[in-house]
Amino acid sequence: MFELTAEALILLLRLALVGLIYLFLGMIALAAARELRLLARQAPQAGAARRGAHLIVVDPGATRLASGAVLALRPITRLGRAADNTIVLDDTFISAEHAAIVQRDGAWWVSDRGSTNGTLVNERPVQGEAEVQPGDVVGIGDVRLKVAP
């Protein structure tokens, strides 16, 4: 019969101690993978539920944006010429900090951030804040961006 000596038992327990840490990490990795697969299955519906989540470049003006390019809208999207904006518009007619599009109560709001030449929604200047729906066109300098779901 195989007899368990104290040394062998200690070795086994040593292996078990470190093994348990990795068993734990492995179980969490498995759970996370399962959750990711579940999320991937739900993702299409979740995307459709959100409104006006993108901007489509209708007219890039003098900027380097490509016509027809799709830009994602963030809950706080800052537009302007300065490099730290969410969407950088490199055109001299556009102020360093030109406009902002903010998500609030499930809607999107455009505001001008004190720009020199103003911000337009459907070619009308924005006073304070203006709500935009999918299909509206935001004008900044010569750039035209269409709000899209």
């Binding site: 470190v18 840490i21 759970a31 360093a96």
Partner: protein, 432 residues
């Protein structure tokens, strides 16, 4: 607070995962006893029972009242707590039962946080009270502070043989304050700016209260020579400011400030000078100021890939091994494998915490979760990096792993807040 009736839903994943830390504690204590040539005693059984019972009670409460809460956070914290009980039993057998009491009280504090907290919004409402309370606690160490273990800094408050470190509480209270303040002024801080020539600066008047609070907190801990806490608070401020505004300019400006501040401290305080020089070359002063670091590095090297096994190494030569230098003992006796396992546990903790922050709908709760998670992550980085000689060594505890009452309690309360946030309405689940 909305009264939403939710059916209790079993939390199978959490229950399954919770079995592992209890098993880990039993295995560890048995191995230590056998290696010392004894049979596992009643004290070992009591320790396992305390951990198991504490975890089950919290699990039960979560199942009944917060079935939506994250199921991985509690087991991961329990793994670290179990490992801390094993290591304390190995390093300081006399303190093993004390650490078990602290873990038990920690579980009770977690439960109390979940039971008493009248909703996340209540934390937001009393934001200035929390900030003032934290500063007052730290301020009181100037008057009543004691130094029970001869570390050279009077960072503790004592009542009848029990010592308590206020800076551990300050970090949690400051997260709440920062989250509430940043939530109030998020749009202003993100959108508007003051222009000076070609440079656009953030709107300073709105940042002032935040900076003032940070300066006060930092000043207090720096005056106390608690450099680890100062580094932690600054990193926390930076992380939360970035999460709230998403502006890289803030990060760059703050880092520039950090470099200036670090240089100033290096010149003004001899403590900092010594720390930096020890970091650059600990072997030059291996018998004096570099002793702890050199002993720690030697222990890590001696451990190799799989370690010597518990009780077969000599971590007793490292000063403060059961508090700040816990990872050196783990490296020596459980090896690189064990050390990476511990780092893996912290990664899981940070990942789950940030996941809670991302899924939460309420911006304040989201910022709160991100801040609490940052505290754990940054604190672990500061002390792990310090022990491994990646950055200058500053003494902070390894969250949930180091021996110490206030650290264990504060981290369990922090975990309770994180679990409370994770039970709030989430994106794609409860939200319309």
């Amino acid at each position: 607070m909305t009264m939403r009736v939710r059916a209790a839903r079993p939390r199978w994943l959490e229950l399954m995962l919770l079995a592992i830390p209890v098993l880990l504690l039993a295995v560890g204590l048995t191995q230590i006893a056998l290696a010392r040539g004894e049979a596992p005693g009643t004290q070992d059984e009591v320790l396992v029972a305390v951990l198991g019972a504490g975890l089950l009670v919290v699990h039960f409460w979560l199942t009944v009242r917060h079935p939506q809460a994250d199921e991985v956070l509690l087991p991961t914290a329990a793994m670290l707590a179990a490992l801390s009980m094993v290591m304390v039993a190995r390093l300081e057998p006399g303190l093993a039962s004390r650490q078990a009491i602290w873990v038990g009280l920690g579980a009770a504090a977690l439960l109390a946080t979940l039971v008493i907290l009248p909703g996340i919004d209540w934390l937001r409402r009393y934001r200035y009270t929390w900030a003032a309370l934290g500063l007052l606690l730290v301020l009181s160490t100037f008057v009543f502070g004691v130094d029970p273990n001869g570390s050279g800094a009077r960072l503790w408050l004592g009542f009848g043989g029990v010592y308590f470190q206020p800076s551990e509480v300050l970090k949690v209270l400051l997260v709440v304050f920062f989250a509430a303040y940043l939530d109030d002024y998020r749009e202003l801080l993100t959108l508007s700016s003051v222009r000076i020539g070609p440079v656009s600066l953030p709107p300073l008047p709105y940042l002032a209260p935040l900076l003032l609070m940070l300066a006060l907190a930092l000043g207090l801990v720096v005056l106390q020579r608690d450099l680890g806490a100062a580094l932690l608070l600054f990193g926390l401020f930076l992380a939360m400011l970035f999460v709230a505004t998403g502006r890289i300019t803030y990060v760059v400006a703050s880092l520039a400030l950090f470099v200036l501040g670090a240089d100033l401290l290096y010149r003004l305080f001899s403590v900092v000078t010594v720390r930096v020089e020890t970091w650059l070359d600990p072997w030059a002063t291996a018998s004096t100021t570099g002793y702890q670091l050199v002993q720690g590095l030697t222990a890590l090297a001696a451990g190799g890939l799989v370690g010597s096994g518990l009780t077969f190494g000599y971590p007793g030569y490292i000063p403060a091994v059961h508090t700040d230098f816990m990872i050196a003992a783990i490296g020596e006796e459980l090896g690189l494998v064990g050390t990476l396992g511990v780092v893996g546990l912290y990664v899981v903790l940070v990942h789950r915490g940030l996941r809670v922050a991302m899924l939460t709908v309420d911006p304040f709760a989201s910022l709160l979760a991100a801040g609490l998670t940052s505290v754990i992550g940054i604190q672990a980085l500061v002390i792990l990096g310090g022990t491994l000689k990646l950055i200058p060594l500053t003494g902070v505890t390894l969250p949930l792993l180091s021996y110490g009452g206030s650290s264990v309690l504060a981290n369990f309360v922090l975990l309770g807040l994180l679990l409370a946030v994770s039970a709030e309405p989430r994106r794609g689940h409860d939200a319309p």
